[in-house]
């Protein structure tokens, strides 16, 4: 910081005078995490083979948007890899003694805090790295370590606190309000479609225990009604548990310790209700967290079923009767990174949409090479950075949507939906509607043919 006193200005190293405990705590956490997790194997390989070819720069939507070299995935990951190399490899320790190499200080931690939260951990760069370096994993780990020294976006902590130490879910919905909401949704379905669609609550022994993103109860009732309608017409065995009805797991975005606690609550609720499977609503990160359940609960963890997969199988088996008229508007599909990047769920939603839509178009690139909505990695819940999220990170997505000419964008993910709505608002796409997949499916289900008492 430059100081002015009389004729001479001088430069004061405020950073050097400030001594904090964070670097030591960061390294302690790093050591503990390396010992008790499996990140070491990847860091070790990445620290050895990284070729610095910058092919990842060509695929990173953040770097494409900002053009700032610090946003190149390989360069960002180096911020953590150099800490690993310096403090946890013999070569690094030797180098440090010989050449006064890099040392972890507060400035380095601040830099990591900034840059690892610019990345949305969409993992698109992994596909273009010759060595398959998973920069998303490095971001994930760096955020975990930063959280151990107290650096976490407030929005994420507040949600997790509400879930683990508050009412029990990230939206703070009490069980009584849940019952009311379900009753309301039931009545709504009765009124609009004339179908008596149950919302089973606390039914013991059901095959599926339902965990949507809990915010759907507040923001996306159509998605939930679609979910319930599918279970109804397919005769699926399912229940909503009042003990825990939240699939959201923001631990995935900043701390494995929190992720474990949230996953264990999911496991406990399934056990309490004597259910067999975890049925995850339309939500990317909730699905991915559910896929990670065996990491925390071991081999006997309840298997996770994504709702899209359930619906697709039922549709393919002819269990979902559809009306003859299809959705007339041109529509396109956004692949949530957490579902599609590793190629796990890409075709199911397309099959469903093609069955119910008159004009389905693809955005490019798509499937595992899709662009992130721009709000991945939990950044969507940070309202303070909306301009960055929508105009910089979200620009690629807005251009993609514009190029399709579609007026309906289907995004089966609560986070993507919120972000895409804001992206459309901020990029001159006000006439585009962002919806969930089951919202649309609901409109096309033929309740009459399903044996319900339909109006039509």
């Amino acid at each position: 910081m430059a100081q002015q006193s009389g004729r001479y200005s001088y430069y004061e190293e405020t950073r050097a005078l400030e001594v904090t405990d964070r670097p030591r705590k960061f390294l302690e956490a790093f050591a503990a995490v390396l010992e008790h997790s499996s990140y070491g194997i990847a860091l070790d390989a990445y620290a050895r083979v990284g070729a610095k070819c910058s092919r990842c720069a060509a695929s990173c939507q953040l770097y494409q948007a900002t053009g700032d070299p610090r946003d190149i995935p390989c360069r960002r990951s180096e911020l953590l890899l150099r800490v690993y190399r310096r403090y946890f490899t013999y070569g690094g320790m030797l180098r440090a003694r010989l050449f006064a190499d890099f040392a972890l200080d507060d400035a380095a931690i601040d830099r990591m805090a900034e840059e690892f939260y610019r990345c949305t951990a969409c993992r698109r760069c992994k596909l273009t790295c010759p060595f398959g370096v998973d920069h998303g994993l490095v971001t994930h780990l760096a955020r975990y370590l930063l959280a151990e020294v107290g650096v976490v976006p407030k929005a994420l902590v507040v949600s997790v606190r509400e879930q683990l130490a508050g009412v029990g879910n990230t939206s703070g919905i009490p069980a009584a309000a849940l019952r009311d909401t379900c009753e309301f949704l039931h009545d709504e379905l009765q009124e609009t479609y004339g179908a008596d669609v149950p919302f089973p609550i606390d039914v013991e022994g059901a095959e599926h225990v339902f965990f949507p993103a809990v915010s759907d109860y507040l923001l996306e009732p159509d998605t939930l009604m679609g979910n319930a309608a599918v279970m109804h017409v397919t005769g699926g065995s399912w229940t909503i548990g009042t003990g825990n009805f939240d699939g959201i797991n923001y631990g995935l975005f900043y701390s494995d310790r929190m992720m474990e606690r949230i996953c264990k609550r999911v496991g406990a609720e399934v056990r309490r209700l004597k259910g067999r499977k975890v049925l995850v609503g339309e939500c990317g990160h909730a699905t991915r967290s559910a896929w990670l359940l065996p990491n925390f609960l071991g081999a006997d963890a309840p298997p996770a079923v994504a709702f899209l997969q359930y619906t697709y199988r039922a549709l393919a088996a002819g269990k979902i009767p559809l009306k003859r008229e299809k959705i007339a508007e041109r529509l396109t599909y956004h692949d949530p990174c957490n579902l599609a990047r590793a190629g796990r769920i890409t075709e199911e939603p397309r099959e469903i949409l093609q069955a119910i839509s008159a004009e389905y178009v693809e955005m490019t690139p798509n499937r595992s090479e899709n662009y992130c909505c721009g709000g991945g990695g939990g950044t969507v819940s940070i309202d303070e950075i909306r301009a960055f999220r929508t105009r910089k990170m979200g620009k690629a997505k807005a251009d993609q949507i514009r190029a399709t000419g579609a007026k309906l964008v289907v995004a089966p993910c609560a986070n993507c939906k919120k972000q895409l709505k804001e992206v459309c608002e901020d990029n001159g796409l006000e006439d585009v509607r962002v919806v969930g997949l089951h919202d649309l499916l609901l409109k096309c289900i033929d309740f009459g043919a399903a044996g319900g008492k339909g109006k039509e």
């Binding site: 499996s38 070729a51 610095k52 092919r55 360069r75 060595f131 130490a165 310790r257 992720m259 990491n295």
Partner: protein, 233 residues
């Protein structure tokens, strides 16, 4: 000069080549041990083996992977093919192995070797050029990233001059010495630098997947180690 050359082709070569083999073996052993260790502790032992194998093969033979950064990808691919084929299948080298260890395999015609050698040198220069002139790549690069492509080109350039003594402005013995010693240097550097990817490459996809497979209760174990079990969220 003859004594120097004998030293370079004799003890220096044996040392560097053994160093290379042992160094690479160490990488393989460490990786295998780590993989086994992680898998043994993992709560989730199901791996998408088909996908991993596919990704690994796609990158080992990356002809379909040229879409992003096409010219860089192509240069890199040609470079790798040349530097792998020529040293192993050059008739002169095959003869050396046959004489030294009694091992023998088919050789490529010298004219093909000449072409590939020149390509190796040209692509090495191009790779360096792309690194220097691309802002993104330059901003990432370490010393070894700038130094290795020209260093790899040295044994190829000198090898070409040895094959065509008429065009060689330098002393043959001196060229020979530089040829052998630069190769020796590369052998020693391989296990120590990013060149180790020549052996680690097939394991990187598996390693990236395994890193997501943690032991059961890894989170609470970290919490205990840091004395944070009872800490509020």
């Amino acid at each position: 000069m003859d004594a120097w050359l004998d030293w370079a082709r004799g003890p220096a070569f044996v040392f560097s080549f053994v160093f290379l083999l042992l160094g690479l073996l160490r990488h393989v052993a460490l990786t295998a041990w780590e993989v086994a260790h992680v898998w043994r502790r993992a709560g989730d032992r199901k791996l998408p083996l088909g996908k991993l194998l596919r990704a690994t093969l796609l990158w080992l033979v990356p002809f379909t992977r040229l879409r992003h950064r096409f010219w860089f990808g192509l240069t890199s691919l040609v470079f790798h093919v040349c530097i792998l084929v020529v040293p192993v299948f050059l008739a002169g080298h095959v003869a050396l192995w046959a004489r030294g260890l009694g091992l023998s395999w088919p050789a490529i015609p010298n004219a093909v070797a000449d072409a590939l050698t020149l390509l190796a040198v040209v692509t090495a220069v191009l790779l360096l050029g792309q690194r220097v002139f691309s802002r993104a790549t330059r901003s990432l690069s370490r010393v070894q990233d700038f130094a290795l492509p020209p260093l790899v080109a040295v044994p190829f350039a000198t090898g070409f001059l040895m094959m065509h003594p008429g065009w060689n402005p330098f002393d043959f013995q001196a060229t020979f010495f530089v040829h052998v010693m630069s190769a020796n240097l590369l052998f020693v550097l391989t296990p120590l630098t990013k060149l180790s990817h020549m052996i680690l490459m097939p394991s990187t996809q598996l390693v990236a997947e395994l890193a997501w497979h943690w032991p059961v209760d890894s989170g609470s174990a970290v919490g205990r180690a840091l004395g944070k079990e009872g800490e509020p969220v």
